[in-house]
């Protein structure tokens, strides 16, 4: 291989290395810099909340967490019961069905409580930001926008 070609390829490799190094350095620096202090920091940056609004949201959040954990513990216990009932036989017995229904009821309670919390938080925000927050949280947690389409008759096909 001749010398100019070797130098040219070397320059290209060096340039690619400089660009890649700069890219990852910038990415890491920016990600570290923008990393929020706590779980709620996203709300303040995304929905441009004032300190007073943020304090109200924080109060709601701290009030909601114990209720959420309590229901989560009930759901976990009910899942264990369903697992035990399923392990006792090979059929879906009446007991298994009852436990599944209870589990579904707990899930519904938990989701209703969660949605109520989202509504409360959205009311602590300016109206437009509140609407955006509520829509975003419903989309992420309940799966609105996506679930309905996949559950529609057309989503199931014609079988």
């Amino acid at each position: 291989m001749n010398r100019p070609l070797v130098i040219f390829l070397g320059v290209l490799v060096l340039g690619a290395a400089i660009f890649t190094g700069s890219y990852f350095a910038g990415q890491r620096a920016c990600a570290n810099m923008m990393q929020g202090a706590d779980d709620l920091s996203w709300l303040q940056t995304e929905f441009h909340l004032s300190d007073a609004e943020m304090a109200h949201v924080r109060q709601l959040h701290e009030g909601y967490l114990p209720q959420c954990m309590k229901l989560c513990a009930k759901i976990a216990a009910k899942k264990d019961e369903v697992a035990v009932a399923l392990a006792n036989g090979t059929n879906v017995t009446a007991e298994v069905q009852k436990k599944l229904a209870e589990l579904g009821e707990l899930h519904a309670q938990c989701q209703a409580q969660m949605l109520q919390h989202f509504v409360d938080v959205s009311r602590a925000m300016p109206p437009e930001e509140g609407r955006q927050y509520l829509a975003e949280m419903e989309r992420i947690t309940i799966g609105f926008d996506g679930v309905e389409q996949s559950m529609s008759p057309s989503g199931h096909g014609n079988n």
């Binding site: 001749n2 100019p4 070609l5 130098i7 040219f8 320059v11 340039g15 400089i18 660009f19 890649t20 190094g21 700069s22 890219y23 990852f24 350095a25 910038g26 990415q27 890491r28 620096a29 920016c30 990600a31 810099m33 923008m34 990393q35 929020g36 779980d39 709620l40 920091s41 996203w42 709300l43 940056t45 995304e46 959040h61 909601y64 967490l65 959420c68 229901l71 989560c72 759901i75 976990a76 899942k79 899930h107 938990c110 989701q111 969660m114 919390h117 989202f118 949280m137 992420i140 947690t141 799966g143």
Partner: protein, 108 residues
């Protein structure tokens, strides 16, 4: 010198020498081979054109001013694109942290 040319014996001798010089017979396809060798000789000159172009480019790249400007441009572009990507990553991470805090996986 002029005297020498006037000798008739020398003229005779010269004529004899010219006659005695035998011109060798040309090998077969002599002319064709000559042209082929000429073409072969020109061929490297053509490929040398691309080498010259590459040499000029390398010379430009190795100029300190051009090299510094290129390195600076690559670093600025890399940092800007990386910062944009980092901001997106940080935003998604923060969103995921908040969602995980209010909606455990077990209820989704």
């Amino acid at each position: 010198m002029n005297k020498e040319n006037t000798y008739p014996a020398d003229e005779k001798l010269g004529a004899l020498l010219r006659e005695s010089r035998v011109s060798p017979a040309l090998p077969p396809r002599f002319q064709e081979n000559v042209w082929r060798r000429i073409e072969d000789a020109e061929a490297p000159a053509k490929s040398g054109g691309s080498i010259a172009w590459l040499e000029a480019l390398v010379a430009l790249m190795l100029r300190p001013r051009f090299a510094c400007a290129t390195v600076a441009a690559l670093m600025v572009c890399g940092i800007l694109l990386g910062a944009h990507s980092g901001a997106q990553i940080a935003r998604h991470d923060a969103e995921a942290r908040y969602v995980a805090s209010v909606s455990p996986d077990s209820v989704r």
